[in-house]
């Protein structure tokens, strides 16, 4: 009997393909999958969420105003903001059961305002400090109130929950803590932000409200110029408002176009920020 150990050629038990190629294909596939899930389930959740009654939304939100501000200036600021909001709401045809509550957060580092469940609008100190005129502030507030009017917070919540669950299920199955975190952050990114269509709708309605409230739309574009400037100053830490509101560059131009189409004057006297809201 003969014994021999011939040489075995390479590459039988290892697929000779470049790892980066496989990586590119897989990452592309994963992104396409995330996109498909976000679009499909997001659309599904949105169409369901819009049918949830507003009173139920208020119940979910609970009583945000429960923690009464202890500070007298804080009370004054909140009251001034509420007055402005009520003035804007008068021009916005909100359903009768839809009440807007404005809350103020004494945080100078956050240049932001957002609308959340149950008609609550939250304004941060950082935003108030940056506002050049009442018109600009009114633009931001009208924008957020429109989100409430369009039921955007509950729609986004529904979308976020459904999409988040689907992505978590996939990430959990794939078994890696890495894919978990990637899918997780992709999910959160889509969860808490309103989408582009919602934003443009809110912008359009806010400008219309401004035209009705002041008789002109001067100061509206200044908001986006301000955010664009802040973003340029701190590219690594853009204002929170920017993170949730994409493509601000084109927004001031679209305001001008809209004003032109409706014949709203682009110039007019700017109202100064009310005394109580003049910080710094």
């Amino acid at each position: 009997m003969q014994y021999e150990n011939p040489e075995i050629p390479e590459g039988i038990n290892v697929t000779p393909e470049h790892h980066l190629k496989e990586f590119a294909v897989l990452v592309g596939g994963a992104l396409a999958l995330i996109l498909a899930i976000v679009l499909l389930l997001g659309w599904l959740a949105e169409s369901i969420a819009a049918h949830i009654p507003f009173s139920y939304e208020q119940e979910i939100a609970g009583d945000l105003g429960g923690d009464t501000p202890v500070d007298a200036t804080q009370v004054a600021i909140e009251r001034a903001l509420q007055t402005l909001a009520d003035g804007l709401v008068a021009h916005m045809q909100l359903p009768s059961e839809m009440r807007i509550h404005v809350h103020y957060v004494d945080d100078a580092d956050t240049v932001n305002a957002f609308a959340t469940l149950g008609g609550n609008v939250i304004v941060f100190r950082g935003l108030l400090e940056q506002m050049p005129s009442e018109n600009a502030l009114a633009m931001v507030m009208a924008h957020e109130i429109t989100h409430v009017q369009h039921r955007d917070p509950i729609v986004s919540l529904g979308r976020g929950v459904v999409v988040g669950l689907a992505l978590a299920a996939i990430a959990g199955v794939s078994g890696g803590d890495l894919t978990d975190s990637v899918f997780g952050s992709a999910g959160t990114l889509t969860a808490l932000s309103f989408n582009r269509a919602q934003e443009s709708a809110a912008d359009a309605s806010a400008v219309a409200t401004l035209a009705a409230y002041y008789g002109h739309v001067n100061g509206a574009a200044a908001v986006f110029d301000l955010f664009a400037r802040l973003e340029a100053e701190q590219p690594l830490q853009p204002p929170a408002f920017m993170a949730s509101h994409p493509d601000s560059g084109d927004r001031s131009t679209s305001i001008a176009a809209q004003a032109h189409a409706h014949g709203w004057p682009l110039t007019g006297e700017l109202t100064p920020v009310p005394e109580a809201l003049r910080l710094q």
Binding site: Q2, P6, E7, I8, V173, S174
Partner: protein, 106 residues
């Protein structure tokens, strides 16, 4: 190519031993199968997706082993053994190895 887990093939003499040949593969099933397997864990029963996965892996590792055997000029692989391990969650690693030999006759 004759594949057997016997040491000797009755009636045929081993002319030449060509040493160890091996084939291995790691395979996974897509997410849908994994989710279904998770559900099956509630009700019990055969996990068809994973049975299929094992079959695919076994076939692939066998064919890789045979490819090695052909490359060294063998006409049979004897004393074949399989071993499995789980390198990653939801993926099956199958390893087949045996002795490549040249048997007399056809």
């Amino acid at each position: 190519m004759l594949v057997s887990n016997l040491e000797i093939v009755p009636g045929r003499r081993v002319l030449k031993h060509l040493g160890l040949v091996q084939g291995s593969t790691v395979r996974a099933k897509h997410v849908g199968r994994d989710l279904m397997a998770g559900l099956k864990n509630i009700f019990g029963g055969e996990l068809r997706g994973y049975t299929e996965l094992l079959n695919e892996s076994r076939e692939e590792s066998l064919s890789r082993m045979l490819e090695e055997a052909r490359a060294v000029g063998a006409n049979a692989v004897l004393n074949v053994r399989f071993s499995t391990s789980s390198v990653a969650q939801g993926a099956a690693e199958l390893f087949a190895y045996g002795t490549a030999v040249v048997l007399e006759g056809e």
